[in-house]
C-alpha cells in the first residue's frame, strides 16, 4: 500500500464492532452495481450508466459519520452514494429502469437520483455542478441553525473544473458546514490524472482555500468513517469545510461504453488486490477466524435483498406518459 496516507490503515488493526453492518452496506452497493450490468446486458437500461464498484468504502464510511438531517450531493457515478445514504435499492433500480416507482418516477434516470427524505439532494449529470449546490445547502444549515452538514462527493476530474474552485473558496470564506469528498479513482473519464493534472495530491489544493486537506485510503471503510467524523465535528463546530481526498479505483470503465482498456493490467491487478470489500472481510477474519460463516451469510442475505429489489422494480409499470408535464413549475 502507499505509505503516505494521512493515517495508518485502521483496518490492519482489526475490524470494528459493527464491521458486519459496514460489510453489508458495501456489498449492497457492489451487488446492486453488478446487477445493473446484467440489466444493461438485457437491454433494459437506456442511455448510459456509470458504476462505482471498487469505491464503496468512501460513501459507506462517510455516511456512517452523519446523522439524519445532514445532506448529500453526488456525481452521476452516484448509485453507491445514494444507497449508502439510505435510498431503497428497489426505487434506485426503478429509476434506472425508467419505472413509476423510481426515485424520480423515471423522469431522471441513472444520473439523476434525488431522495429528499434521506437528505439526498441529487446526483448530477454535469461534472462539478453540484459543488455550489452543496455550498447552498450548507448556507441554509448555517443560516437556519439546523446543525446539519452538507457533503459533496465528486471525482478527481471535477477538481479541475471552475465550479470546484468557486465552491471551495466560497464555502471557506463563509465558514460553512460543508465537506468536500474527492473520490480519486485515478481517472477523469478516460484520462489518467497525470495527463490532466500537474500535481499528484489533490488534497493539497485545500491549502489554496484555507481549509484542511486530508489524503486518505479510500478503500478502508473504517478510516473513511473516522476521517469523516473529524470533518463533521469541525463543520458542526462552525470551523468551516474540509477537503478529503479518498484514494480509490474504479473497477470498470468510465461508463457502459468504456471497457477501460487504457489502464495497464498491472495497475488493475494492484487495485483489485486492494478491494475494499475483500479487505474488510480479511479484517473481520483476522479478528475472528470463525466469522467466514457470517460473511457468507451476509453475502447471501444481501444478494437476496438485491434480487428482490430488482424484481420489485421490474414489477412496477412504466410511468404514465402524461407525467412528463408534471413538476416543471411548482
Amino acid at each position: 500500500m502507499n505509505d503516505d496516507y494521512c493515517k495508518m490503515l485502521s483496518l490492519t488493526e482489526g475490524a470494528p464492532a459493527d464491521a458486519e453492518e459496514l460489510l453489508a452496506s458495501m456489498l449492497s452497493i457492489r451487488l446492486f452495481e453488478d446487477e445493473v450490468v446484467s440489466l444493461f446486458a438485457k437491454n433494459l437500461v437506456r442511455g448510459s450508466t456509470h458504476l462505482c464498484q471498487g469505491q464503496e468504502a468512501i460513501t459507506v464510511g462517510i455516511a456512517g459519520a452523519l446523522v439524519p438531517g445532514d445532506t448529500m450531493t453526488c456525481t452521476y457515478r452516484g448509485h453507491g452514494a445514494t444507497l449508502a445514504h439510505g435510498s431503497a435499492p428497489a426505487r434506485a433500480f426503478a429509476e434506472i429502469l425508467g419505472r413509476s416507482g423510481g426515485l424520480s418516477h423515471g423522469r431522471g434516470g441513472s444520473m439523476h437520483f434525488t431522495d429528499m427524505a434521506n437528505g439526498i439532494l441529487g446526483s448530477n449529470g454535469i461534472v462539478g455542478a453540484h459543488l455550489p449546490i452543496t455550498v447552498g445547502a450548507a448556507l441554509s444549515a448555517s443560516h437556519l441553525g439546523t446543525g446539519a452538514v452538507s457533503v459533496a462527493y465528486f471525482g478527481d476530474g471535477a477538481s479541475n473544473i471552475g465550479a470546484f474552485h468557486e465552491s471551495l473558496n466560497l464555502a471557506s470564506v463563509w465558514k460553512l458546514p460543508a465537506i468536500f469528498v474527492l473520490e480519486n479513482n485515478q481517472y477523469g473519464e478516460y484520462s489518467a490524472q497525470a495527463v490532466t493534472t500537474p500535481i499528484r495530491r489533490l488534497a493539497d489544493r485545500a491549502a489554496a482555500y484555507g481549509m484542511p486537506g486530508v489524503f486518505v485510503d479510500g478503500n478502508d471503510v473504517v478510516t473513511m468513517r473516522e476521517i469523516g467524523r473529524e470533518a463533521v465535528a469541525r463543520a458542526r463546530a462552525g470551523e468551516g469545510p474540509t477537503l478529503i481526498e479518498a484514494d480509490t479505483y474504479r473497477h470498470s470503465g468510465h461508463s457502459r461504453s468504456d471497457p477501460g482498456a487504457y489502464r495497464p493490467k498491472e495497475e488493475v491487478a494492484l487495485w483489485l488486490g486492494r478491494d475494499p470489500i475483500t479487505r474488510l472481510e480479511q479484517a473481520i477474519l483476522r479478528n475472528n477466524p470463525e466469522a467466514s460463516v457470517n460473511i457468507e451469510a451476509i453475502r447471501q442475505r444481501v444478494q437476496k435483498e438485491i434480487n428482490e429489489a430488482r424484481d420489485l422494480a421490474l414489477s412496477w409499470p412504466e410511468p404514465p406518459v402524461e407525467q412528463r408535464f408534471e413538476d416543471i413549475y411548482a
Binding site: T71, T73, L103, S104, H105, R107, G108, H112, T114, D115, M116, L121, G122, N124, G125, I126, A129, H130, L131, P132, I133, T134, V135, G136, A137, A138, L139, S140, A141, H143, L144, S150, G162, A163, E166, S167, N169, L170, V173, W174, E326, D327, I328, Y329, A330
Partner: protein, 330 residues
C-alpha cells in the same frame, strides 16, 4: 384610506423592493458581487446590509457559478434567496447553473423540491457599455422550460413584480434594464403592490394596431404612439412585463379589435421572444390578422460601442412609426 406614494427612480426602487420582500419573510436572503458593503455596482442596493445585517445580505467573491449554485442549494433546503448577477451578460459564466441546474432541479426530482429563488441581472443596451455588458440576455433562456422570466419596464412594475418573484416558488430570472435607471415613478408606501407574473400591462389603447414591447422599447412604443396619434392612427401598446409566462391572451384580445401586430424588442430577431410571439399568433390565430405581423428588432450583430453605432443598432421610435404605417397601408 389615504394612498401615500413615494416618488422614486427605477434604480432606487430596486432596494425598496428587495427590502420589502426581506421584511415580510425572514427566509429571504440576498447576495452577490459588491451588493452589501458597497451597495451594488450600480448603487441599486444601498442600505440593505445596514437594515438586515451581514447574515442576510452578503458580498460574494466574483464567482457567478457559486452565486447561482449556492442560491439553488439554499432554495431547495429552506431559504428563499435573491442572487445578483451584476450584468446579465455574465449569465454566460454560470449558464450551466441556470440552464442545467436551476431550471431542471424540480423536474429531475419529480417534485420533491421547490426552487424559490430570484436571480437579478442588469440588462440591455443604450448606455455604451459595449458588447459584453449590453446584451438583452433574456432571450437566451426562452427555450429552457422551468424558468420564469421577468422584464420590468417601469418603477411600479419593478416593485410589484419583484414582490411576486420573491413570493413565487419557482426560479425567476429578473432583468432590470440599466438604461431605465433614472426613470421616475411612484410606489405605494406600507401596502402591498404585487403585480402577478404573466399579466401584461395595457399602456395605451387604440383601434388601429397593437404594439407589443417591453422594457426600454415599451417607452419607445409609447412615444411612437403619440406621433401616430398626431397622424390620426390610434394604437394599443401592450407591455408583456413577463416573458415566461407570457400573457398571450392580452395580445389576442387586442388583435380582435386592431387586426395588426407590431412587436418591438431590444434584441436581434433570431431566437427571440418577439419572433416566438409572432409565430404563435400566425400559427394559431392567423384569422385575427389583416396584415403580416412585423418584428421591429435590433440588428443581428454584437452590440456596438460608439454612440451613433449603438443608436443605429437599437430599434428607434421612427422604425416603429414607419412599421405601423406600413401595416395600416397594407
Amino acid at each position: 384610506m389615504s394612498k401615500t406614494v413615494a416618488t422614486l427612480n427605477y434604480r432606487q426602487v430596486i432596494s425598496k423592493a428587495i427590502a420589502a420582500a426581506m421584511r415580510e419573510d425572514s427566509r429571504v436572503i440576498f447576495f452577490g458581487e459588491d451588493v452589501a458593503a458597497a451597495g451594488g455596482a450600480f448603487k441599486s442596493t444601498p442600505g440593505l446590509l445596514e437594515e438586515f445585517g451581514p447574515k442576510r445580505v452578503r458580498d460574494t467573491p466574483i464567482s457567478e457559478q457559486a452565486i447561482v449554485g449556492t442560491a439553488l442549494g439554499s432554495a431547495i433546503t429552506g431559504l428563499r434567496p435573491i442572487a445578483e448577477i451584476m450584468f446579465a451578460d455574465f449569465a454566460g459564466v454560470c449558464f450551466d447553473q441556470i440552464v442545467n441546474q436551476v431550471a431542471k432541479y424540480r423536474y429531475l426530482s419529480a417534485g420533491q423540491v421547490t426552487v424559490p429563488l430570484v436571480i437579478r441581472m442588469s440588462n440591455g443596451a443604450g448606455s455604451g457599455f459595449g458588447a459584453q455588458h449590453s446584451q438583452p440576455a433574456e432571450n437566451w433562456f426562452l427555450n429552457v422550460p422551468g424558468l420564469k422570466i421577468v422584464t420590468p419596464g417601469t418603477v411600479e412594475d419593478l416593485y410589484g413584480l419583484m414582490l411576486s418573484a420573491v413570493r413565487d416558488d419557482n426560479p425567476v430570472l429578473f432583468f432590470e434594464h440599466k438604461n431605465l435607471f433614472s426613470l421616475k415613478g411612484s410606489i405605494p408606501i406600507g401596502e402591498a403592490a404585487e403585480i402577478p407574473l404573466g399579466k401584461a400591462a395595457i399602456v395605451r389603447t387604440g383601434k388601429d394596431a397593437t404594439i407589443v414591447a417591453n422594457q426600454q422599447m415599451r417607452h419607445y412604443a409609447a412615444e411612437a404612439a403619440v406621433i401616430l396619434a398626431s397622424k390620426g392612427i390610434e394604437v394599443t401598446v401592450i407591455d408583456p412585463r413577463t416573458l415566461v409566462p407570457f400573457d398571450d391572451e392580452a395580445v389576442l384580445k387586442s388583435l380582435q379589435e386592431t387586426s395588426r401586430l407590431v412587436v418591438v424588442q431590444e434584441a436581434p430577431p433570431s431566437g427571440s421572444w418577439g419572433a416566438s410571439l409572432i409565430s404563435r399568433v400566425v400559427t394559431e390565430n392567423m384569422e385575427l390578422l389583416d396584415a403580416p405581423p412585423a418584428l421591429v428588432a435590433a440588428e443581428e450583430t454584437p452590440v456596438p460601442y460608439a454612440a451613433a453605432m449603438e443608436e443605429e443598432w437599437l430599434p428607434s421610435v421612427d422604425d416603429i412609426v414607419t412599421t405601423v404605417e406600413k401595416l395600416i397601408n397594407y
